[in-house]
């Protein structure tokens, strides 16, 4: 009796040209989608952009000594949602005021510096939520040294809504691209299964079970899908890293290049590659089934 034929990479053995074409196309797609995925992961949609611009200002009472104000700033900085908290003394506040409104030096003439000191608080991009901002603002309001907290409560919910919308829109577009990939991959798999139908029939006639062929094709599709997605995401990550180094202003929107190597980013890329493997295998099985049932 003949030995059991190896059906691994059967499509590659029978139709190299089409497999190479599709592989190149999929790799380029994964490069693009990997770049988009990592950008989305790092930026958190519009969170980093907003977090970079959103500031809570705690205006201090006039008589607060600098040492106490700095101690308060350190305590605020220790709150979980807070990225940074820095104290500006009345003199620094006055200079900032003059930079913003030049020509108003006369205001200081009569009663000295009219500007109070303040603490500028920035929130971490992943904690830019209504609850976390409320937590920080209410913590500050309960402190006797603080006269007033400016947290933009009137417009902040609108900002969050816009952020959520941008977040959903970004992931929606990402999902649409993945769905498009699945659709195209399924069509490619079906076309290849139709083109190789005579070969599969030949093998089936010679004792190779059709189910085994379908499963091994799907397994090969999963392995190649995983490797292509991993390689494409790595290449996309490299391109993103280079972009962030070349154009530093992008860091304010996307994030620092070092974040690409965080364990959670790598874990997300691996998860994405596993998802791509699953989609590739499903496309292979569905393409095979459609080709076998003769649907066009």
């Amino acid at each position: 009796m003949s030995e059991q034929p190896s059906l691994w990479w059967i499509d590659w053995r029978l139709s190299r040209a089409s497999v190479v074409r599709e592989t190149i196309g999929r790799f380029l797609f994964f490069c693009f989608i990997g770049f988009a995925l990592l950008s989305m992961l790092l930026s958190g949609g519009a969170s980093r952009f907003f977090a970079d611009r959103y500031v809570i200002t705690a205006v201090l009472r006039a008589e607060v000594p600098p040492a106490e104000a700095e101690g308060l700033a350190r305590k605020v900085a220790a709150l979980p949602p807070v990225r940074s908290a820095s104290y500006r003394d009345p003199e620094a506040a006055w200079k900032e005021f003059l930079r913003a409104y030049p020509g108003l030096d006369a205001l200081r003439g009569a009663g000295g510096n009219p500007m109070p000191g303040y603490i500028e608080i920035r929130i971490r991009p992943d904690r830019l939520t209504g609850d976390d901002v409320d937590l920080v603002a209410s913590a500050l309001r309960s402190v006797p040294l603080v006269e007033r907290v400016l947290a933009g409560e009137e417009w902040f919910p609108r900002l969050l809504r816009a952020g959520r919308l941008a977040f959903r829109l970004g992931w929606g577009i990402f999902g649409a691209f993945l769905a498009g990939f699945f659709l195209v991959a399924r069509l490619q798999e079906r076309a290849r299964a139709v083109a190789l139908a005579a070969d599969f029939a030949f093998l089936a006639e010679r004792g190779v079970p059709a189910g085994r062929m379908a499963l091994l094709r799907a397994a090969a599709a999963a392995v190649s899908g995983f490797l292509l997605a991993a390689a494409g995401t790595a290449a996309g990550g490299g391109a993103l890293f280079a972009s962030l180094r070349t154009f530093p202003f992008l860091e304010g929107v996307i994030g620092p290049p070092a974040d690409l190597l965080l364990p959670r980013t790598i874990a997300a890329a691996v998860l994405f590659s596993l998802g791509a493997a699953f989609l590739s295998a499903a496309a292979s099985l569905l393409g095979w089934r459609a080709a076998r049932s003769g649907r066009k």
């Binding site: 003949s2 034929p5 093998l203 010679r206």
Partner: protein, 225 residues
């Protein structure tokens, strides 16, 4: 040993044949002659385990192909070679593709070995250097010989040929006569289905045994007593 017991086929609303017994011994070349539409192709399909007979059973080395273990039937099909009467005519397919496909079914044939063996087999069937030729551009005779050579690549223990002698044409008969007998001498079994047996073959094989609409001949193998 391939044995068919009380085989029957019902086709097109009628009984094509029923109650036929066959016994094809190992290491021999068998010739089944039958008139057109007598069910020769069907008989080969049944013997290969491709089509369950409507009556009777087929035993291979004592195991039923249709009522026994499915793995045994698959292994049997894997050990068979088959040259169909209707050869493939895929527009883009080349002779080399036939060998690639056959090697895949055989498993474990290295690319360099495949090419080497393919060249030798093609030369043997009178198609030297035909690897790159398109099937669609070949004559019927060339297609049949190319398919036969591709099947031989795997070295099947049992070879079923449907209309190969007629398809290959008179000039190739001597080559086929020698080839089939040589295969049998090496321990393989060859089952040929044709409308008529060439006169010289019939003279050498003697009177065939009548089985239903068929006449079954055993071709003499060189070196047999």
């Amino acid at each position: 040993m391939i044995e068919g017991f009380r085989l029957g086929v019902f086709s097109r609303g009628a009984t094509l044949w029923d109650g036929l017994d066959f016994a094809f011994g190992d290491a021999a070349a068998w010739f089944v002659a039958g008139p057109p539409s007598s069910g020769k192709t069907l008989l080969l399909s049944i013997l290969r385990g491709e089509r369950r007979p409507d009556a009777g059973d087929v035993l291979v080395t004592g195991n039923s192909l249709y009522r026994g273990n499915a793995a045994h039937a698959r292994a049997w099909r894997a050990s068979c070679g088959h040259v169909p009467e209707q050869t493939i005519s895929g527009a883009r397919l080349t002779v080399g593709d036939l060998f690639r496909r056959s090697a895949l079914a055989g498993g474990g044939v290295r690319e360099s070995e495949r090419k080497d063996r393919a060249d030798r087999l093609l030369e043997m069937v009178g198609l030297p250097g035909a690897s790159g030729w398109r099937i669609a551009e070949l004559s019927i005779s060339e297609r049949v010989r190319a398919c036969l050579a591709a099947e031989l690549l795997r070295g099947p223990k049992v070879l079923f040929c449907d209309g190969v002698v007629a398809g290959a044409g008179i000039p190739c008969r001597e080559m086929l006569w020698g080839l089939f007998r040589a295969l049998a001498r090496e321990g393989n079994t060859v089952v040929l289905a044709e409308r008529t047996i060439p006169e010289r073959w019939a003279l050498a094989a003697g009177d065939g045994a009548p089985v239903g609409p068929f006449r079954v001949y055993r071709l003499p193998v060189p070196g047999e007593g």
